[in-house]
Amino acid sequence: MTGWMKPKHQRLVLIVIALASLVGAGLLAAWALRNQASYFFVPTQMVTAPPAPGQAVRLGGMVQKGSIKTMPDGVTITFLVGDGENTVPVRFSGIVPDLFVEGSGVVAEGRLDPSGTFVADNLLAKHDENYVPRELKDMTDRQKAQIVAETEVGK
C-alpha cells in the first residue's frame, strides 16, 4: 500500500474499508434474518395462511385432550395442537419434555410436511412457575381475553 498511495491517505482508506466490511456484514445479516428467522404460528394461522412446506417455523397452542397417541416404535407420538378454533396434527420423535401433558400449552419447533402434518424437531413445554415459553404466556392471556369476549357476545 505504501508504494501506490500517499501515506496520509492510509488512515482514511483503512477506515473506509473497515466500515464497508461492517456495513456489508450488517446488510448480509439483515437479508439472512428475513429469510432464516423462524416465525411463530398459532393453529388458526397455520390453517388459513400456512407457511411453505419445509420452512422452519414454530407452532404454539394447547395439546388437545385425548389426542396424544404413541406409535408402535414407542418413541414417536402424534397429537393435535389447537387454539380453540382450529387444530393442527403434530408428529414428534424423541423424549417429550417433563411437563408435556394433554390440556397444557406447548411450542413445537419444526416444519409443515406436504400432507399438512407438523413435524416437530423439538417441543418446549412449561418448565416451572418461573420459566414459561414466552409465546405460551402471551397466548394464554389472549385466550383469556378471547373467552371473555365470547361470553360477552353470548350475553
Partner: protein, 648 residues
Amino acid sequence: MIAELGLVALWLAASLAALQLVTGALAQQVGGDELAVLTRPAAIVQGLLAAFAFLMLLVVFGQTDLSVKLVAMNSHSEKPLIFKLSGAFGNHEGSMLLWVTIMALAGAMIAAIEHRLPEKTMLATLAAQAFVGLGFYAFLLFSSNPFERLPTPALQGQGLNPLLQDIGLVFHPPTLYVGYVGLSVAFSFAVGALVTRQVTPDFARIMRPWVLGAWIFLTLGITAGSYWAYYELGWGGWWFWDPVENASLMPWLAATALLHSASVLAARDALRAWTIMLGVVAFSMSMVGTFLVRSGILTSVHAFAVDPERGTFILALLAINIGGALLLFALRAGTVAEGKRFSVLSREGALVFNNVMLSAVLGIVLLGTLYPLVTEAFNVRVSVGPPYFNPVSAIFVFPMLAVMAVGPLLRWRQDGMQRIGRPVLIVALVALLVLAGGWTFASIHLLPLLGLAFSAALAIAAFMPLRGRNLRLLPIATWGMVAAHFGIAVALFGMASESAFSKEKLAAIEAGGSADVGPWTVVLTDVVPTAGPNWTALEGQMLASYEGGPPIAIAPQSRNFWAPPQETTESALVTRWNGQLYAVVGRETAEGRWQLRLWWKPFVIFIWLGGALVALGGLLALIGRVLADLKRRTVKARAAERRAESAA
C-alpha cells in the same frame, strides 16, 4: 441482623463510590487535586465493603434465613449446603450483587496495584469505574434489594430451580462474571485515557494484562457454561445460540479484538482510536448482555426476573454509560494523534483484518439476538437460531481463521510474500487435502467439512511461529499465543467432528433389551427407583460396550424434585479419547418399554479442551507480560541508580 449488616455495607460501599467519583473527577480540574489522595483508598474500601455484603448474603443463604425474602423465594432448608450457597447467586438480586461486588473488587485491585499510569489518568479511570458502579448500586438498592425482609418469616423456602442444582452453578456464574465485569476495567481505562488524552503504547501495555485477566475468565466461563448446558439439559447440544449465550459471546469477541489491537498499539504505536473504541465496546457488550438477561424481555433459564421497572432501569444505565462513553469518544477521537503507518502485508495488516472480521461477527450476533425484540414491536414473533447464525457468521469466521494462520508469521510494518511463501503453501495444502478427502470419501456438509479442513491447517500453522527460533529463549507470551491459536484449532475440530460424525439413536426397549449407536452397544439391564436429598428418580441401569469390549455401567436418571416440583433429565456420559457416549432415559411406554436416547459424539470433548487451551494461552501471555514488565522496571531502576552514582 446479618441481612441488615449486608445492607449497611452496601450503602456504605455506594457512598464510597460517590466519593471516589467526585475526588477522581475533581482531580481533572486545575487545583482540584486536594482530595485526590482519597480516591485510591475509597476504591479499595469500597471493594472490601461490597465483598463483605456479598459474604453476608452467602451467610443468610447458608443459614436458610427464611425471614429474608430472597432466601424464602429461592432456597429451601432441605438442600445440600453447596447449593444453598451457590443458590445465593442463582437468582436476579443475588447475581446483581455478585456483579457489583466483582466490579468493586476490580476497581479496588487497580487502585491497589496499578501505579504505572500517569496519576491523573489513573484518577480519571477510577472515577469512571465509580460512575458505572454507582448506577449498579442504585439499581441494587432501589429496585433489587437482595437483603429485603419479609413481614413474617416464611415457613419453608420455595427452592431453587433444579436445573441449577448442579456443581456447574458453583463455577460457571462467578467465572463468567469475573470476565464479564472485569472488562469494566478496560472501559474505565479507555475513558481515563480519553479524558487525559493519554493514548500511548505504554497505556496499551498497562491495560493489556487487565484485559487478558478478564478475557481468561470469560473464556473459561463460556467453556464451562457450554459443557454444563451440554450435560445438564439432556438435549445433547453444546451451543444453542440462545440469547443468553450470545450475551456472553459478544463481549468475548470484542475483548479478543481488543487484546489484538492493544498488541498493535503496544508494539507499533498504531490503532490508537480503534483500541480505545474496542475498550468501550467490550464492556458495553457486557452491559447489553446484562440488560438482555436481567430485564426479563427474554425467556430463558437465565432470566429470573420479569419486572418491567427493572428493565427500564438497566436500559437507562446502559444508555447513560454507553452513550456517555461514545460521546466522549466522538469528542476526543479527533485529537488522538494518528499512529504509525504500516503496509497491508504486515502483522498489523493481518491483525486489522481480523479485528474487522471479529467486529463483523459481533455485529451479526448482536443483530440476530436483537432481531426478535425488534419484530415483536411490530407484533411479529420470530425466533432466530442456527440456520441464521451458523452460515452467516461462518462467512466471516473462515477468512479470519485463514488470516489467523498466516498473521503470526508476518513481520511488523512490512513484509514480502516470498518470505512466508513456503509455510503458507504447506498450510494451504493441508487444508485442501482434508477438503478433497472429506469431499470424496465422506458426505459431510459444507460447514463441518470446512471446519475440519481449517482445524487441520490451523493446528499446524499454530506452531509455525516457532520455526527457526531458540525455544528456550522464546518469550512466554509467544508460547501463550501458540497455545491459544492451537486451542482454537482443537475446539474447531471438536465442533466440526461433532457436527459431521455424531450418531443418534432413539428407541423404546424393554429391560434386558439392547440398542446400538455408532460403535457402541447399550444393554438396558433394569430401571430402578432411587432417591437423593431433595429428589427421587428413576434410574436406567445400562451396560455400554465399545466395539464389543468390556461393559461399562452407566445410569442416566429422570429426576423428580419436590421443591420446586420439577422433573429433570440427568444424562450419563462415557468419555473415551475419541469421543463421548451420551445416554438419556425417558418415559415408560404403555407396554412397559423405556424410551432411550443415545448419542455417539466423536471428539466432542475437544470443543471444551480447546476452550481450556485458549484460556491457558491467555494465562501464559499474562504471566509473560507481567514478568517482562517487572524485568523492564528492575532494569530501569538499576540504570537510574547507576546514573545517580556516576553523577555523584
